[in-house]
């Protein structure tokens, strides 16, 4: 706790901030690729305090935001099946599909919010006459825990537990962004939690293949400012490296146990990211030998063809091409109580963070 307190120290934060304000000679575009970073940057005011010097763009770092409408529609299809209990994280409840949301479906079916996949396993054990489906949404930070649950389900030979996997992995999304000529990024603030699993080395392709500097950062204000400071120095020196400024949690090779259990249960497949499109080998599907636990394999789920709501700019925001206040719907038609797009739904979405912490005036 005392150690962590240093990373919250406002005086230290202010010193780094002043240094940053002085030494940035031209406006730079950095992207944070983690919803928790987005919220921390908005909440502490770092984005506001560096305005004009740094543009801190929020990338595809919120797993709820990048879940495709087609996936949501399939989840809704599952919730409408008789004899089924659908379990999900709270953030997913209000994400709009093409015609409905899970919160609307809860009025008719059995949709329950859980805090971990283990809760869903417990619900399956307590309801042997029902089929319990866990909607798996999340990046490398969430997947190992879900894989551990599957281990439990297999060990107990539970026959009424299914997983709908909309899990995704982060590195291919960064590659896709860097291959888009319209996306201009001078450096990445890499997601500390994801790096805890994957390690620093996994991200070396950013500097080696694309010549873009990147820094792994923690989530306290001082962590974030120190990571930005290192990015600014690298840009000034014309150097591109992948640095670890979150060494209290992230190792070179990451967490091999977590990586191994992910690989045991999941294969990498091409999947659609909301607002971005298909990204090769960026989704995690249950391996064929575990197909009996795969909700998508067990039910014929209708593929939806409806596209996102007109005017919603979540796709552009996820790619860092637009900031939330630039979206015409932001804070007028699209609000946390009546979200149009997923970036406003999830507590870690860029629009929700901007709405909550960075609006200039309130609509009383």
């Amino acid at each position: 706790m005392e150690l962590l307190q240093r990373f919250k120290d406002p005086k230290l934060g202010q010193r780094i901030l002043e240094r940053l304000q002085q030494k940035i000679s031209r406006p730079l575009n950095f992207m944070e690729v983690c919803g928790t970073h987005t919220v921390a940057i908005s909440r502490s005011g770092i984005r506001e305090l560096l305005k004009g010097k740094l543009r801190l763009k929020s990338g595809p770092g919120c797993p709820v935001c990048v879940t495709d409408t087609g996936d949501i529609d399939k989840m809704i299809g599952l919730a409408r099946l008789p004899g089924v209990i659908v379990t999900t994280f709270g953030d997913m409840m209000r994400v709009p599909g093409s015609r409905s949301s899970l919160v609307q479906e809860r009025a008719n079916g059995d949709v329950r919010v859980v805090y971990s996949a283990l809760d869903a396993v417990a619900i399956a054990e307590a309801n042997p006459d029902k089929t319990v489906i866990f909607l798996g949404v999340g990046f490398e930070t969430t997947v190992p825990a879900v894989a551990l649950c599957l281990e439990e389900v297999v060990r107990k030979n539970l026959k009424n537990f299914l997983l709908y996997s909309a899990h995704k992995v982060v590195p291919p999304a960064l590659e896709t962004l860097l291959q888009d000529p319209e996306v201009k990024i001078d450096g990445f603030l890499l997601p500390g939690h994801v790096c805890t699993i994957l390690g620093r080395k996994t991200f070396e392709f950013l500097s080696q293949k694309y010549n873009v500097p990147a820094v792994i950062g923690g989530f306290e204000p001082v962590d974030i400012l120190a990571a930005l400071d290192a990015l600014v120095d690298m840009v000034a020196a014309g150097k591109a490296q992948v640095l670890n400024r979150y060494s209290r949690a992230v190792r070179e090779e990451g967490n091999p146990l977590a990586q191994a259990i992910m690989q045991k249960y999941f294969d990498l497949v091409d999947v659609k990211w909301r607002g971005i499109g298909i990204i090769p080998r960026s989704g995690l599907k249950l391996k064929a030998e575990y197909a009996r636990y795969d909700a998508e394999e067990q039910y014929l789920l209708e593929e939806s063809t409806v596209e996102a709501v007109p005017g919603c700019s979540c796709g552009e925001i996820l790619k860092g091409k637009m900031e939330p206040p630039e979206c015409p719907l932001f804070a007028y038609i699209c609000t946390p109580l009546k979200p149009v797009g997923p970036c406003m739904v999830s507590s870690e979405g860029a629009c929700a963070a901007y709405y909550k912490y960075e609006r200039r005036r309130s609509k009383n």
């Binding site: 406002p10 919220v39 919010v113």
Partner: protein
Amino acid sequence: MIGDKILLAHGDGGLLTHELISNLFLRHFENSILKTMSDAATLPLEIEKGRLVVTTDSFVIKPIFFPGGDIGKLAVCGTVNDLAVSGAVPRYLTASFILEEGLPLADLEKILTSMAEAARMAGVTIIAGDTKVVERGNADKIFVNTTGVGLVPEGVELGYHRVEEGDVVILNGNIGEHGLAVVSRREGLEFESDIISDCTCLNSITQDLLFQYKGIKLMRDPTRGGVATTVKEIALATNKDIFLFEDRIPISDEVRWAAEMLGLDPLYLANEGKFIAVVSPQEAPDIVAALRRLPQGQQASIIGEVKKGQGNVFLKTSLGATKLIDMLAGEQLPRIC
């Protein structure tokens, strides 16, 4: 009494209802007014000076027992505090119960015991009540409604109309403890935590303060929606801006870390033993000093200032940024990663 659980027959008005009332409710809430068992309680109130105030509130909470309290204590403290922050001396409470078939009688007894204890500590008498039983599945164990009656002494006048630019905002202690204590015991989310609810009756503090300091202009208890929502309500009702200072808002390390872990903002977490007061700047230091001498006020602090404006609330962060604060939009949900 037959059995150890609430049965539908406990609510049918017959023998079991009679047993439930006399063996449990009357035993715990014994007083001369309730004992008459009349259809309506007659209150020996003589109001020559001062004003009568009434408030009502329903309590539904999951889990019904949580670190630092239970639904019964909450039902008494919640209503007593609504009276207290209105400037009233709480006098009487009514208590209505909706019980779910199958509720263990031992749980009911535990709840009634803590209600009686909280009422005794607050100096209020429970003078009327009602009990209904609903079929299993039609309620969540127990719902409690309490209505409170209190007297605002002559000379005490709190209200939005008294709030002026230059006034300061005081909070009597650490935020978010009730909200996190409850969340920590929710099904599926039990985590190691020493956080206990701050649930307590505030009337003894508020009465003393109001007697001593005429510069107290408004009081509110930041329950659901937390400090942020309550301060926003004050700003809107007064049509003035309120600036809060992040580094002056008292919060325990335990709450800070647990809220961070869960992705919850402590400013929006519920409190049950806290009050916000808008006071004159001249008296504010004395009020804070007086509060700090009390067990429920040791972390008391001036957390903000009232300024000219249009109903906005701003938070000055410790890094020096200014953020707009709004009411809670929908429930706070723990994050995914």
